[in-house]
Amino acid sequence: MREQAIPQPRTHMRFEFVSASLKLNLGRLAIGAAFCFVWWALVAGGVVSAFHVSTPGAVAAYLVQAPKELLPHTAATLGAMMSAFGLAAVCGILGGLLLVEVPYLRRLIDPYLTGFNSMPRIALAPLFILWFGIGSTSKIALAFSLGFFIVLNSTVAGVKNIDPMLMRLSRTLGCTPAERFFKITLPWALPTVFAGLKLTLIYSFLGVVTSEMIASRSGLGYLVMYYSGIFRIDAVLGILFVMAIVAILLTMVADFIEQKLVGHWTESVNLPV
């Protein structure tokens, strides 16, 4: 009984935190609900036609019966996306490290890199389809051509912006080149490389869906083209909704991994004393 009289700030704080995040999420839901309501009201009031924008109800109805159809296509898109992401990550990081180690090579190929990177990659899609067919290889190629340069550039930037004081420290301590790389350069570059990887994840998704929309037999991009061809706006909007959910989930997973990996030292934390 007596314990109850003792204030328990911790529990109290946790309760406040829960209620704050509950409020936030309720607010977010309210925005979505308001959007759906305006959408519904515009169609019901005859301002826009259901033929062009469908209705929230029709989109929901499509999504309810869609999983059987959506799952294999989502899997096809995600599979191609992860292959492209993995390739871009490995090649981009290794390429970036090579360019940092051999500055002459970087100067030599710099105009080509800039040229290729500033080219609208979607223009390459027809070529990739011609070369690799309409299977997953051409999707991976397009997504890779986007992601590779992002990882490459972020790796070069991450290694190059290293604090010169840390390099001086490593010299005075007598670090071997391997020690310098693994104990200083690599951890230093990690947050920048990770930011590049996160961007690459989203761009791989974009690249794969784009390629699917141009020519493909599977994937979410293929479905969008198929349904827009037969004027099923409800299905198109439903698939767009699924894409948004996938993108949000990918970002959340990446944020979680980033937080676990480098969050404890990159995030500015207030002194708890």
């Binding site: 604090d163 004081m165 840390l166 001086r168 420290l169 490593s170 010299r171 005075t172 301590l173 007598g174 670090c175 020690e179 104990k183 200083i184 951890p187 230093w188 990690l190 480098v262 404890h264 030292w265 990159t266 995030e267 500015s268 934390v269 207030n270 002194l271 004393v273």
Partner: protein, 265 residues
């Protein structure tokens, strides 16, 4: 360290000259000698080449003309018997206070050298510099002074008998600076190592030094070597009330002021 070795020269610099690639003469005909276990402080106007001298002794910059020896051998960067502390903390942001304090030892002796005894020593050191309870904090969570304390502990954690300190407290506020000077002296008195300390703060120089070397305006050379006779352990407040302190301060200041004018002319 026995008394017989205390008179032995640890660092000897003779006729050192250094010209930067730009053609600027940074150091001209500098002679400097530090005996084993001696704390010498080099003061001089900014840009007088003090840091260049230290960098040459550390082996970070090649020696162009003159002779430099550390324990009888020419300087090489990365010698385990030399530790260098910079004006910036140069802490690894992904390591905690403990991880940073242990970093130098780890590089010198490998991961296997981090035994429980070494950890206990690090904890003791962290205690001595007033950071106990912060062992698991990351540099971003620390104030400027706390970060520089961590760098000080990392420097003292290594067993290097020669410490080179390049304005280590130069960027701190006046109060924090005094605390760190006191902490440096406490650590140094526990294990008297040779220290070459660079500053442009004359009060700091007199408080810390066995001997103050006054560096001329650029191109730098050592104008005077002035022994600081005050007893250790020193107390800054008591020191500031003594006439001897002020006389010494005035004497060195008159030398220094002339050089500062020359530096600005």
């Amino acid at each position: 360290m026995s008394d017989t070795t205390s008179e032995e020269a640890h660092v000897v610099v003779k006729g050192l000259k250094h010209r930067f690639a730009s053609g600027l003469q940074a150091v001209n005909n500098t002679d400097l000698e530090a005996r084993r276990g001696e704390l010498i402080v080099v003061v001089g106007p900014s840009g007088c080449g003090k840091t260049t001298i230290l960098n040459i002794v550390a082996g970070l910059i090649g020696n162009q003309e003159g002779t430099v020896s550390v324990s009888g051998k020419p300087p090489v960067a990365g010698r385990k018997d030399v530790a260098y502390m910079f004006a910036q903390d140069a802490l690894l942001p992904w390591r905690t206070v403990m991880g940073n304090v242990l970093f130098g030892v780890e590089v010198h002796g490998g991961k296997a050298s981090i035994t429980d005894a070494v950890r206990a020593k690090a904890t003791q050191l962290i205690n001595n510099i007033g950071l106990s309870g912060f062992e698991d904090f990351y540099p971003r969570q620390l104030s400027h002074g706390m970060r520089q304390r961590t760098a000080l502990a990392r420097t003292f954690m290594m067993d290097s008998p020669l410490l080179l300190m390049d304005e280590p407290f130069g960027a701190l506020d006046a109060h924090t600076k005094l605390t760190l000077e006191q902490e440096l002296l406490t650590l140094w008195e526990q294990s008297r190592r040779t220290v070459i300390f660079i500053t442009h703060d004359l009060a700091e120089a007199i408080f810390l030094a066995d001997r103050v070397l006054v560096c001329s305006a650029r191109p730098g050379r050592i104008l005077a070597s002035i022994a600081v006779p005050f007893e250790r352990p020193r107390d800054l407040k008591a020191l500031q009330q003594s006439d001897d302190y002020h006389k010494l301060y005035q004497r060195i200041w008159s030398l220094l002021a002339r050089e500062m004018d020359a530096a600005h002319a």
